[in-house]
Structures are given as C-alpha cells and as structure tokens.
C-alpha cells in the first residue's frame, strides 16, 4: 500500500485556494489555443503522460572541488533519499522513478528496497555504476583509469562492478545501465588515444554480453572533467561509434552539460536518433562547463529546442523511440527537493511547448524555404505560457498547483533536520 510522505489533505487545501485563478488562466489559454487550432485537452493529456526520473544522489546537497555546504536535514542514505524523492513526486506528479547509483545506494536486501520505493509511489530507473572513485577496501585503484586502464585486473574489477549493477538493477526492476567513466588523461602522451579506446570497447563488450535482452546500455560521453587533456568517451562521435561496435542494445546518453562550448545539442539529438542510437538524457543546465545547474535555469530555449527534436524524432520513427529521461544536477545552493520540483516543471514545460508547435505549418514553411515563418512557428509555441496546463495536470493527478509553496508549507525539511543524522563539512579537494 502506498503511503506518501506529505499530507495529501494539506495539498488539496492549498490547491483549493488557487483553483479559481487556475481555472481562469486555463480557460483563457484554452480559448487562445483553440484559435490556433489546438485542443488544450490534448496537450494536457500529453503532459499527464510525461515523466522524468530523478537521481537518488540529487536528493543530497552537491558541491564543487572547493567545498560542499551541507544543509540541515539532508538525507544520508538511500532510504532517506527515497523519502525525499517521494516528496518531489507527490507534489510534482512527474517524477515517479528514481535512478540509483552504486555503490552509493548499496543495501543488503534489494527486494525490500524495491518494496520500500513502491510504498512511496516510486519505481527504479536506470542503474548508474561508479568506477570514477575508489571505495574503501577496494582491491584495485581507478587512479589510472577503470574500463580503459592498462592493468587488466583494474579493468576486470570495473567490468565486474558494472555486471553487479545489472544484477542489482534486475532486482530493483530497472532496465537500463548507464555507464559513465571519468577515464582520460591530463597530459599529452599520458595514454595512447587509440589503445585506450580499444580497451574501452573490449571492457564494454564484456558488460554488454551480461546485459539481459530487454535491457539497454546507455553510454554517456563528456568532454572533460575529471580528465583535463583528453577523455576516452569525450563526445557524441566517440559515443555512437562505440555503441555501433557494441550492438543494438547499446545506446547513447546525452547529458546537456557535457559538450564543448557553443555546440548545437539539439542537432546531436537529431543525429543520434537518425542512426537509431538515442538512448536517453541527463537533464541539467550549464553556462560554462558541466555546471549541473537546474534544468532550464540558464537556457530554457535550448531545452525547448531539444524537446522539439524529440517530438520530431518520435513522430518520424515512433517504433524506435524510447529515450530514458533523467534529471542529473548538483544542488549546491538550494534545497535539493525544491530544485528537483522546479527542474521537473521546467522539463515538462519544455515538452508541453514542443507539443504546441504547429508541425504542419512548420514543415510547410521549411519546404517553402520560408525561414521567418518556420522560426515564428517555433517561437509562437515557445512564448506560450503553459503554466496553467502543467498546474491542471499536476492537480488532477494529486500534486500541488504551486509545488514549491506546498513543500514549504509542509515543514518537511525542518522535521527532517530534527530526525536525521547531521552531515559533516565537505572540506573540498583542491
């Protein structure tokens, strides 16, 4: 039986106070969209059917190499993280799955963990392996690489860990393994750029072979950090070539912050889908590097353009289209629950706006080389305020019209600050 963490009565009460205003906004928007030939109900249904996973580690406060500033009441284990994720989902009704990370989320009984999640209204999404850190007691160090290390014993340890993650994931009901490695170099010459890639392919193929038939292996590329001269899987080119070598279950995962400056990410999305390799997303935003900021906080238009490609992709080739959507952010200066609520809303808003695009008009303008009309067709959708649609869909599903206000009203964090173990200072790694 599901037992959600917050008082559903309080949520309903708060919603009731806002219902009239929302009804007015929703009806007004409905009339406007009807004039544009769009049934608001269809968009609302689309929104109601959309969801994005949240990462277990996202429930804790993040930091940089310089410092981490903990907040009172932040979670210190997977059970507390699940509770916080359940708060996010209860209010937003858009984040019903949690993506776990191992060994961070290790427990002794995964069947029990799955039940615990289910009782909170949550399921499990892609499992994330970790071979970019050493764990206490670990026989071999990843100091000189993991899946691409020169030392075969190191590679085997990293392979085994990934296979263990698959096994845990099966117990949790997951069907994707996300593989991100930090392997790379800080100096020209440190590694042979080709041999390290070949070692990657060799290691990855062993993980691939352990993958159940209905699973996917999601390969995540990243331009830099923690490696600062070269990274083995640095860009979508390396990622897709690796995925092609590995086989049909291998797909590419796009993290919005893992690209070179100025790159057109929405075109990368289109290319990956064109070649049948679009596997999933790590949503976040960034201004400089892998800043892991809240989705849509810096460049909401880019997020819209990404979803515009996703809608095109789905319509052009629906059979092959099932990307895993996940938030991957580092909440350094906010309450992580608030950031996940707000980020989920930004992502759903981008999706809703992409649904609003008049595709017939867009395609016609494209065919006629009518650049201004093609652009204005996108722009008309982008500038529409879809807040009422999202709020309606949320409230109808039991969530809060104003989710952050409802969270604040609940007193959740203060209560947890009393109950939970204190987190120590993060001294930074300079």
């Amino acid at each position: 039986m599901t037992e959600l963490p917050l008082s559903q009565d309080q949520i309903e009460e708060l919603n009731a106070a806002q219902a009239d205003a929302l009804d007015d906004d929703y009806a007004s928007l409905g009339r406007q969209l009807a004039r544009r030939g769009i049934a608001i109900k269809a968009i609302r249904d689309g929104v109601a059917g959309f969801s994005v996973a949240i990462p277990s580690w996202g429930a804790g406060r993040g930091g940089t190499r310089f410092a981490k500033f903990p907040i009172a009441g932040e979670p210190t284990n997977i059970h507390e993280k699940l509770a916080d994720c359940a708060v996010v989902n209860q209010l937003s009704r858009a984040t019903p799955r949690v993506s776990p990370h191992f060994p961070w989320d290790k427990v002794s009984d995964y069947a029990a963990l799955r039940e615990e999640a289910e009782s909170l209204g949550l399921g499990f999404d892609a499992v994330n392996s970790n071979t970019f850190q050493d764990q206490p007691g670990q026989p071999h160090s990843y100091a000189a690489g993991s899946l691409t290390a020169n030392d075969v014993a190191v590679r085997q340890q990293a392979i085994d860990h990934n296979i263990e993650c698959i096994e845990i994931g099966r117990q949790l009901g997951a069907r994707d393994l996300t593989v991100w490695i930090g392997d790379g170099t800080n100096f020209p010459g440190q590694q042979d750029l080709t041999r390290s890639f070949d070692r990657y392919l060799d290691s990855a193929s062993q993980i691939y072979r352990a993958l159940p038939d209905d699973w996917r292996m999601l390969i995540e590329h990243k331009l830099f950090e923690p490696a600062f001269y070269s990274t083995v899987i640095s860009d979508w080119g390396s990622s897709i070539l690796a995925a092609q070598e590995l086989g049909p279950k291998a797909k590419c995962l796009v993290d919005l912050g893992h690209h070179a400056p100025n790159v057109n990410i929405e075109q990368i999305v289109a290319r990956l889908h064109r070649f049948g390799k679009l596997g999933g997303f790590h949503f976040n935003d960034s201004k400089y590097g892998d800043d892991d900021l809240d989705s849509g906080s810096i460049n909401p238009h880019q997020l819209f353009l990404v979803f515009n490609e996703l809608i095109e992709a789905e319509r052009n080739n629906p059979g092959d289209f099932a990307p895993a959507y996940m938030i991957d952010q580092s909440h350094n200066v906010t309450d992580p629950i608030e950031s996940m609520i707000a980020s989920a809303e930004s992502i759903v808003a981008a999706y809703a706006k992409a649904l609003l695009v008049d595709r017939a008009a867009l395609h016609l303008a494209q065919e006629r080389n009518d650049t201004m009309m093609a652009f204005q067709t996108l722009r008309q959708a982008y500038r529409t305020d879809v807040t009422p649609i999202l709020a309606k869909a949320r409230a109808e599903a039991g969530g809060a019209i104003d989710a952050i206000a409802a969270y604040r009203a609940s007193g959740w964090r203060d209560r947890k600050a009393q109950e939970r173990t204190k987190v120590g200072l993060g001294a930074g790694i300079v």
Copy 2:
C-alpha cells in the same frame, strides 16, 4: 507632413479582424497580472514608451565572407533604406530612429535627408563611422590599422573621418558617435599590444575633443573579427579603461555578439553602469561568434536577463541612465524588413518581461539568501506571454497586431522588386 509608406487603412483592416481575439487575450492576461499585483496598463504604458533604433545598413541583405545572396527589391541607397525602415516603424511602432553609417549613407544634402526621414516618421540615431574598409579614392589605406595605425597620416585620416561623421550627425539631429574599429593583429608580434592601445587613446582623444557638449562617444569593443589574434579594443575592460581616460562623454557600447564564449553579458552591463559608463547596445543574437542573428532568436532568456539589469540600473541610478538602444544584425537569409520587425518585437518583449519582475519580492529573496524564490521571481516574469501587451501597444499607436502578416499583405517587397535597381552577386571574400 508625414507620409508613411504603407496603406494605413489596410493595417487597420487587418487589425480589426484580430481585435476580438486580442481583447480576450489581453483581458485574460490583465486578470492574471492583477492577481500578481501588477496593473497591465502600467506595463503597456512602459512598452508604448520604449523604442529601439534600426541601422540603415540592416535594411539590405547581409552576407558572410563566403557569399552574399541578394533578394529582389532590396534597397541600394540611403533613400530606399529609409523607406524600408519606415515600413518597419509603421508596422512595429517601436523603431522611430535610424542609425546611419558613413560613408555608406553619404549624400550631398543632409538637411534634405533629415527632412526626408521626418516625412517618413523617422529620426536619426547614433552616427557610425567606418575605418575598417578602404573607399575608392581614399588617400591612405586602413590595411594596417586606422585609429591605431603606425602611420600618423593614416591615423589623421581616420580621425578626420570621425570628425566629419560628427558634423554630418549634427545636421541629421544625432547626438551619439559610435566608434568601432577593426584594428588588431593576425600574428603574435605583429604590433606592440600596448603601443597600439596608446595610439588608440591618442587618436580617440582628438575625436573626443571635437565632440559637442551634448554628444556622447560610444566605444564598441569586439573580441575578434576582422582581427584574429588580437584586437585593440577587444573587451569591456579595454573599453571602459579607454572611456575613463577620454572623459565623461565617452561611454561603452555593448554588442551582444562581441564577447568570448560563455561570458556573462548581463554582469558586464551591470558593471558598466556601476562605473557610469554604460552608453548603449547593439542588439542581435549569436551562437558561435559575431553571428549577427536576429535578436532573441537563439537565446531569448539572455536578452531578458540583460533587460532585467537595465531596469535595475535605471531604478538604482536614474539620472545617469540613458543607453542608446540599436539593432545591429546581418540579415543573410530573411527579408531584412521582416527580421527587423521580429527583432524589435523580441527586444520589446524582453523589456516588458523585465518590467513584470516583482522587484520587491526579488530584493527580499536576495536579502534572505532565498535563492529559489529569487530565481522563481525572475522566472515567473520570463515565462509570462507578453504578446497581447505588445500587440495592444502597437495597434494603439497605429501599428499592426500581426506586423509580419501585415507586411506580407502589403506587397511592399514585390513592388520594390519592380522599381529598384538589381543588386549584383556578392562573390565572397575567401
């Protein structure tokens, strides 16, 4: 007597067909804003009082070093350019001033030109000098620099040209001189980086001395292009130090596309204002370099954040706040009139959204370190669809509710294609 280029009756007719829909949207938004404590009329008044200048050269089709693809009916002299600018202003009612460029817009009688503009409902904005190209018959070449050239005769020619621009500007009713130079180097060692800056100061101070008391000299920096190793006035740091050396009439002009990748332009705006040196803007958008794309087409959120700083700046120090706003774009793939209409609308929309920010709530959240609320305060304003406000303000002033549709309905370009001289192919400079 003003004689606008398009049929005002046709505009009114088109507006009439859209009036009911607009009234509904406007009233709905009014109710929503009222619930947020904002009087829609105040925003509409703000919008009605806002304008942005357009560049005479923006009326022609632009290009790249690889090619220019002309369109039929594009203007080939300042008179035709003024006519096109008048079309933009008649429809948008937001672009009542034209920024001329010399020697491109040279005529024999500037008093007559000013009258011609006035009869089209236009005035003149900042005068732009050109010392980045050689003109036929010009005694000295700018091949090795202009205001910073080693050769004193070259520098004098460039100084004289700027002083001549001031003189022309006086006749046209302008009060700003915008100085952008392409001076810089393509090779390490080509010039001494300090001595070339000193020569700039020396030349600029001679121009400054010729400036009437109520004029400003707007210094425009640019990171690169046409110089590809170093540029003398490359960034806002060089620009503000030069402006400080020159005196109070020297100010800095920000072109949104003239910065290094990732740079926070809105903070630069805040800094320039903090030190009393914010002189003006060249609006455009860009993804890679000085792409000169339509304002707001790539990153409308950034444009909003810039205007958010401008509103803060104005409120913090209104006496000193009078930036010159201008569009500066290269319309390579669209009809320039359509791009200027759409760009002006994007700019006005960003301004309107910045007016919507609940500044009391913002400042309170900032003081309380309530990061999420501070951000949400901006975001609430940004996501509001201000289209009805802009359309109302436009229609009320005599412009078109749907300005691009009205332009297309007017048949202006086709008519001009019959009347105007054909433009030759731009072969490109590779």
Copy 3:
C-alpha cells in the same frame, strides 16, 4: 621541361653564404640526437620525403566580410596563381602540389593547364568544388542550400558541379574530391535537422557513384560559418557517419579551424583513423573560429600533437594510411607567398618533431602509467629545434636555407606588381 620562376643561381648564392653556420648547427644537433639514440640522417630523410599541397586560392590575398585589402602584384587567374605556387615550392621544396578550386580556376584546356603546372615543377592535388556561392549565369541559387536544398533542381545542379569537378580533376591528374558545403541554418526551425542530413546523403551518394575507383571523396565538416545556428556537416561525428553510409572511398577531412572551442583535435584524428576514415587535412591555425591563420602561428604545440597522432596512426596501420595534406589559409595581412613558405615550414617542423619522439620510451611509460615520463618523452621531441634539419633538406633539394629572405631578395612581388592586372578593392559584405 621544368622552368622554375626564380633564379636558381641566386638561391644557391644565398645558401652559400649561410652554409657554414648551417653545417655547425646541423652537426651540433646531430651529436645531440645521437646521444638520444637518433640518427639525424633518418629524420632528414623523413623530412625530405614529406610534402604538403597548397591551395590555388591561397596565392591571393584573403579578407573578411568587413574588407579585403589587396596587395600590388597579387595573382588574378590560375596561371598567375600557379606561378606564385611555383615560387613557394622552388624555395621550400615542400609544396609540389596545388589544390584547385572550381569554378574559380576554370580554363578551357585542362591538359594545357596540367602541362603548365608540370613545367613549373607542380602537380595537382585534391579538387575543391564550390556550391557555397552563386556564379554569374548559374540557373539556380544556393541561397537556401546546395547538396541539402529542398529544391531538387538546386541539388541536381550542385551534384552536377561536383561530378564536373571530378572530370576536371581526372584531366589534371588529381585523385581526391574535397566536398565542403556551407549548408545549414541561421534560425531554429529553418530546416528539419534530420531531413537536411538525409538530403545530403542522397546527393553525396550520387557524387560518390561518379567517383573513379582510385579516387576518394573527402568530406569536410565545419561547426559554423556561413551558417550560424546549425550546419549540416558540423562535426566529425556527422562527417564519419556520412562517410560510413557512402562507402569505402568516402573519407573525412579535418580542417584545424572547424571545431568547437577547446575540442581535442588530435583525438579526433586518432578516432577517424581508428575507424578507417581519416582522409586528409586542411592545415591552418586559429584562436577564435575559422580564422584561417598561418599554420602553427598560434598553437604550434597542437600542430605537433596532431602529427604525433599521425605518426602513431601510420605505424599502427600503415596500409590504410594516406591522408591528403593541404594548407588552407586566408592571407589577410601578409604576402601570401611568404605565408605559404612559413606555414609549410611550420608543418614540416611539426612532422619532424613527431619523428623525433622516442616511441619505445613513450609506449613503455604509457604501459607503466608513468605519466610524467610519457609527457616528457613528447616534450623532449617538441622542444628540439629542428630548423637545421629542415634547412639541410631544403637546400639539398634545391630550395633556400632562408626561404623568406631568398624570396625577398628575388624581387618577385615587385616585378609582378608591374606586370599583373590590379585587383580592385574588396568592399566587404556586412
């Protein structure tokens, strides 16, 4: 019979004056290299066997969209360009092939042109097609794209032009067709990002089918310019996927200035070779975008690291290794002949330094995770001054020890300034 443009006697005379100094430097370096286990003669032989093609258009002064500043005596047709290229090769003895560009280099009799080149000691390298500009009298415009245009007639024209280039190339003795298109968009929505790529593949496959069996089609990617929102073949990922679709004769060409900021180009080189698709290079240097500066002038270390990968690639898989090397620069502020001489020297120097790398030591250090020694092995090679080796190889082949000094001594440009048609001002395309 070969008749080189400059007086060989004068070159020999100048060399004679420098011979003793060179002998001392060469002998000293030989002793140092011998202590490092390297035979200087082997490096010199490697250098003597290395060459790089120069572009016919590189013989003229380049420019930007803002201006072009011509120099007296620059060439205005393919015959004069060949003469200038012959000067470069006579002095550098490293640039025996010229890469032509059509329609710029069109003549009525290609057999005669080939003979003319041969008489100057030159052959022809990769043929470059041009579908990024409209030519006078051309039936269809490339304003809305070429190989990827919506209009089938435009695509056919672009395909036909490429096939014509192959035919011309056969007559000139070339065996590579380099295809660079400027196709892309300036606005989100302007084109469907996938459909335009599909049209590219369709068009390119028709060109591919016209390719003789011993030819290669070199696909050149570029991040931006002339398109500023998206480019169809924007990065190596799009390039290699296209090359894979087209077939074994399709390869990827790397222009050093066509990448996003910060990208690790040497790793891209390694990846392309790993997948059998490294086809060639356009050498130049850049600091900001596609600056087309002289090779090695901004980042000579990067050029060395690229050649380090090339040597690794050649040794790992010699059968498949035959990249086409070409200079592709825009000489905006120098005498193009001097820039081509200096650039060729920079490229040969990078190659020579890469030959100096102690690969056994490098691989051993890599295997041992001895990062510092691996790096120092590269660094020892890089910091070696290979000037004496290059000068010896050059002089031995008939070139000049100090090629730029010899060029200046020859008076070539002044003579041509008397003989050749004057070039008009390039007014710029703003």
Copy 4:
C-alpha cells in the same frame, strides 16, 4: 644553517655524468646565438636571476569533485610540505619561495616556521586567504558568500580572516596578500550583481586598510567555479576596477586558467601593466576551464607570449614592474614534486625564450608594418631550444642537470611513504 633534504653529493655525481654532453650542447647553442648577435652568458645570467614561488598545497595530490587519488608518502602538514618544496628547489634552483595558505598551513609558532623554512633554503611568498570553505568550529558559514555576503557578520568574519593572514604573513616575511573568493551565484536573480560587487569593495577596503605600506593586495579574478552563473570578480575588468577603487597597493593577479575560452591572455597582461595594476601570476595550464594542469604542458607557446609581454612591460616601465610569480596547479595524476620541477622548468624556459627575442628587430618590423618579420622574430626565439642554458644555470647554482632523474634517483618519495601518515581516500563531492 641550511640543510637541504637531498644528498648534494648524489646530485653532483649525476651532473658529472652529463657534463660533457651539456657542454657540447651549450657551446653549440652559444655559437648559434652569437651568430644572431646574442651573448649566451647574458641569457644564462637572466635565467639564474629568475625564480617562481611554489604553493604549499601544491605539494599534495590534488583532485576533482569526483575523486582524489592519494599517493603514498604525500605530505599531510606544512612541515612535510616545506620539505617537499625544498626538494623541488634543491633540484631546480628556481623555486626559493613557498606561498602558504591559511587556515590550511596554520601552526602555533610562525617565527619557528620561518626558521624551519630558512633552514631548508626557502622563504615565504604571498599569503593566501581562504573564505571559500567552512572550517570546523567556524561561527558563520560561507555558504552564501564571504566578502560579498548579505550578512554583515559573515563579511566581518571573512575580513578578519584576511587581516589575520596579513599578520601571519608579517611573521613569515611575506609582503603580498592574495585574495581569491569563490563568491558568486548559480541562478539568475540569486544576487543583485551590482550590490554584491559593492559589498566586495566595502569588505576589500577594510582589508586594504590593514595592509602594511610595503605590502600589496593581489586581487584574483576567475570566470567560474565554484559559482556557475555569475562570479563577483569574474574577469580582469572587474578586477582592475576594484583595484583602482581600493588604491595603489591593490593590484591584479592573473591565473592563466581563469579566463573565458579563446581570450588573449597576453593582451590582458599588457593592459594591466599599462594601467599600473599588474600584480602577479598564478601559473598553470588548461584546455577547458580552470584545469590547473602543469605549466606549459598544453600551450607552451601561450606561456612564451605571456613572458614576451612581461619583458616588454619591464623594459617600458621598469620602476613599476615587480609581479609576483607563483605556480598554482592541481597535481591529480603525477607526483607533485615532479610536476613542480617540470613546471618550473617550463616557466623558466618561456622566460629565457622571451629574453632571446631580438627586440630591436621586432620593433623595427612593427613600425614598418612588416608583419611576417615581426612574427618571425618572435618565432625564431620561441623555437630555440634553451634546455642547455637552463641546465647550465641550474647546475651552476647547485641544482641537477636532469632534475626529475635526480629526484627519482634520490628515493625521496619511497622513503617518505615509510615515514609519513597515510592519506585517506578522497570520496569526491558530486
């Protein structure tokens, strides 16, 4: 009495084995330079007089937010760090000063610490304050900023800490205070961009007032990290304006990795000197962001161009020229002692090459607009292998000809691995 950590006899012995080879190389280079009109002895004297400080924290292994991989024998307190720094200086004879960081290097008796350093042949350089991390027991958190925080108590704590650093520095014989703050925002709206800068000026002026007359306050700017939307002191413009406000003892410090992509750092150096505000350097190298890689490992040519500006600056205005040179790197994958030795050598090499520039020829070429000769004058200096000069200067001062080989031969790290406390795993802050 000085007691250096390594056996001086062993160093001499190793040098003896390499002396003949070095003599040959040195003599050969001497003849070559003589032919270029340069006395090698003068360069060697310049090199002998040059030094760069090393950071105490640089002696430990660095890391990223993802992980830190410690090495056996790394130092865990200031005493061990000083010993390691003494090793670097004994071998390189170029790093006689250590830059301390507080509170990391806190001890109870600074007079004793100074003596301890002196006995190791070391002095103290600029003192670094730390207000980017919270320390155990600290009354106020820097979670929402330090010198720019809203809360006056937080600001006062940060001010007091800086004043305490000055006091400690006096006892240690330092005369510079380096102030780097991580203050900034992750969200638009989080702080008012102007008010936070004003708070910075207010706080900094209080520190400035506590500065002894013969001290300097070095203001360090940084584009991003740990703040990812805006940083209060983000660029040289903000830095120099702050320094101007504060007064003549306030200067700007340039960290080579703290700039936006593509920016011309050597020009920034020239500008800061031009306005009397060049205070010092943090040397390192980077490819992507603040990568803190070994100096000269990625772009040695840029390092040379920076020193070229420094030599120009010194010659143009010697009275005002005394920048503090310091290495600031994060040694994540190497033995920090080896990285500091190699980095010091790269820096000295860049300095030596800048000394080799024929400045009369350079200036003449610049005046004549002879771009190619100006560039070639720099390039001739850059490509010269100055290794023999550095080795001679080092050996003459008691250092090692091959410093890394001598370090390895000494067995220092293995010995320390036996003696020193083990460092725990750095778990990373994600």
